[in-house]
């Protein structure tokens, strides 16, 4: 048994994780694909209105390293490319490809591959990119881009530490598809040429642990169970727990030779390489007290949330809030018309007695409970104090930008202060101010350049005038001399 390290703080959250077996989602009438990818990158539609598409067919291509192609999850026709509300904290509408399904679910023929080791890592990365695979843990970073690191990777970590309350999609996937996951891990390890491969599961998922143990069999993959403390599933926190290495806030894990991939991503890689399938479906946990039958559903990406809710017996009367993701870091959605994306791991319908009581916010009593649970060892009480009084420099001195917005401080705060929300606002203020500073600097340089140019021009004009004057003088003198000589 490997000795595990601990990160600072964290929370042991008890939230019922649904352990029902995975069911398949029925076919929705409409599939919705937002073109917006990470960090304001858009995928480019490559289908026309009214075009018939097949399951697995690419409908939008990536235009940069930060986006991934999108594939249709069922057969049908392209009904519209129009703005719809998307799963984004802003809850605003953005361009989406809408596919009307035809019920046939006809698929492109897939080209399986039997021995991935015959292929070069470069080829495999291209296949992963073409299959539209992104990190399925929630961040949706394009996997091929992450795998194209220049750094030497010594350890590949397959992250199955599903630490957020309520979410159990990874655990249920492992129970069913442990073989594929292990294959996917081996492919990833081959691509990265990493010496070690670790699969990390949480202590509270014994069945998943068992399934993986059987699937790993004689492969040289280490299976480690980590304590179920939130946020163990955070990349840097997990690396710290497994290896004791603390990755600084400003560094990427790859700079220290580590790479983390979600367990769902590993399975998607297996499907893409071995079975030749594009990423068109994923497991989504539909749960919460606001749902009649919590369950894990294998869902076509692009399915509207209301379709999943209907398949889970509908809402309870007391439902108050719809969250995409877990209760710690999820996004509150304004409507269930929104479709699930590759990043959707959980749909959580909360009732009033489940959700926090934000009305009764009290003054901060500086108890420091927030600092005690902060996994990145910040002093949230000080950040709150400085942020509220607009002392943005102090916020940066107290390392505001190391905050991972995990929400631990919010949960333990006896005064019920929405700390994370405040930190987001303060971060936004600092970024805006910095942008303004850059802009005002630009304006200043522009102004100075203009001043210099004007001065130069004036100088040149003066010189020219001087010259002209000299010539005239000369001519005058010449003519005078001429006159005299006459």
């Amino acid at each position: 048994m490997t000795k595990l390290a601990h990160f600072h703080g964290g929370l042991a959250i008890t939230a019922d994780k649904c352990a029902n077996p995975i069911i398949d989602s029925s076919l929705p009438g409409e599939l919705i694909y937002p073109l917006l990818q990470r960090s304001n990158n858009y995928a480019l539609p490559i289908v026309k209105l009214g075009e018939r598409v097949l399951k697995g067919q690419m409908i939008a291509s990536a235009n940069s390293l930060f986006s991934a192609p999108i594939h249709a999850a069922s057969s049908g026709t392209v009904k519209a490319i129009e703005p719809r509300i998307i799963a984004h904290p802003s809850n605003l509408a953005d361009d989406c490809i809408i596919i009307e399904t035809d019920g046939l679910d006809a698929a492109l023929s897939a080209i399986p591959c039997f021995d991935y080791q015959q292929e070069t890592p470069e080829n495999l990365r291209t296949k992963i990119h073409q299959a539209g695979i992104v990190g399925l843990g929630g961040a949706a970073f394009p996997t091929a881009t992450k795998l194209s690191t220049e750094q030497d990777i010594h350890t590949l970590i397959i992250n199955a530490a599903e630490c957020e309350p309520y979410i159990s999609c990874d655990a249920s996937l492992i129970r069913q598809k442990a073989e594929g996951i292990v294959q996917g891990a081996l492919i990833l390890q081959y691509i990265l040429q990493a010496k070690h491969c670790i699969i990390a599961v949480e202590e509270n998922m014994p069945e998943a642990n068992q399934a993986l143990l059987q699937a790993i069999n004689t492969h040289s993959i280490q299976l480690i169970s980590v304590p179920a403390i939130y946020p163990t599933g955070g990349e840097k926190q997990l690396i710290q727990v497994l290896t004791g290495t603390k990755i600084p806030a400003k560094c990427l894990p790859t700079e220290h030779g580590f790479i983390c991939q979600n367990v769902g991503t590993a399975y998607a890689v297996y499907q893409a390489i071995i079975q030749g399938l594009a990423l068109t479906e994923r497991i989504i946990t539909v749960t919460g007290k606001g749902i009649k039958q919590p369950q894990n559903i294998r869902t076509r990406i692009g399915t509207p949330i209301k379709h999943l809710i209907a398949q889970s017996g509908g809402y309870n009367k007391k439902v108050q809030r719809l969250i995409m993701g877990g209760s710690m870091m999820g996004i509150a959605l304004s409507s269930d018309e929104i479709a699930v994306t590759k990043a959707t791991n959980c749909i959580l319908a909360m009732t009033s007695n489940q959700q926090e009581n934000k009305s009764a916010e009290m003054p901060c009593i500086r108890c420091g409970d927030c600092a005690a649970v902060c996994p990145v060892e910040l002093l949230p009480q000080q950040l709150y104090w400085y942020g509220r009084s607009g002392q943005l420099d102090q916020c940066q001195n107290y390392q505001l930008f190391s905050c991972i917005e995990c929400g631990c401080c919010d949960v333990v705060c006896p005064s019920h202060i929405p700390l994370v929300q405040q930190f987001r606002v303060t971060k936004g203020e600092i970024i805006t101010k910095e942008k303004q500073a850059v802009q005002s600097n630009l304006a200043k340089t522009r102004f100075q350049n203009q001043q210099q140019r004007r001065a130069r021009e004036e100088q040149e004009q003066l010189a020219k005038a001087e010259k002209r004057k000299a010539i005239i003088e000369k001519m005058k003198a010449a003519s005078l001399a001429k006159k005299k000589s006459l």
Partner: protein, 312 residues
Amino acid sequence: MQFPTTSSPFTPASNTVNRVMLQVLIALLPAIGIMFWLFGNTLLIQLLLSCSTALLAESCILWLRKKPIRMHLLDLSALVSAVLLALAIPTVAPWWISVSGTLFAIIIAKHLYGGLGYNPFNPAMAGYVFLLISFPQQMTAWQLPFDVISSATVLDHTKTQLGLDFSLDKIRTSPLFGYAAGKGWEYLSLAYLLGGLWLLQRKVISWHIPVAVLLGLTIPALTAYLIDSSRFTSPLFQLFSGATFCGAFFIATDPVTAATSNKGRLIFGALLGSLIYIIRTWGGYPDAIAFAVLLANLAAPSIDYYIRPKRT
């Protein structure tokens, strides 16, 4: 279906201010019990006086400041201040002592600085110091049931006698002394220790402040005692006399007025502990908790200013 949107997290909060304060009050019960055993009904009158004054003053000020009265009365912070103050006042003191002390604590030390969360000084200790400076006679006249006349505390007695050049061995023969410190008072100290340990176990307070206070007091006391035990009292006497444990576990740990980071709390506590020893040994007042707390309170914002998270 449409839903309201707010910012994450959505996990319900696990604690409330009311719960924190309630646990502090519960932890004070052993001390209240011992005080009642020592002083009888007079203690209850003091408690009743200061608690009712505190609630009344808090309500009036909240009303004037247009703050939610019910919510802040229920946070119990005024009651905690009132009980701590009542336990520090001689039980035979006249009624206007505890009333004026409580009024000073709640109105001036707490609300004039902005109320809960904003007061730089511990309200109970500010009230106590106000009384001690204004009415020294009434504030030092403790009357134990087994004493016929009202008498000084052992700290007071020891200080006077040492000033008269008596050696400690001689002073210790006074009937005021029990096993380690003042007769009867020792049990009170134990009761505070018990309540404090319970708070630690419930994680209402962290260990940093009490441990630093007790070490900050014990280390200089032990050093001086080892150098000259006829002139300097033993560390055990220091720990079990006066309000040492009450101060270390209940007063120094007031989060609003203490340093807020763990490292800062160690510095704050050590400063407070050594101030207790310095004031007790060389200062003008026999017990020093209140003065030491106020001085350390003054230092807390500077401590917080300098303790920052590591750059990572």
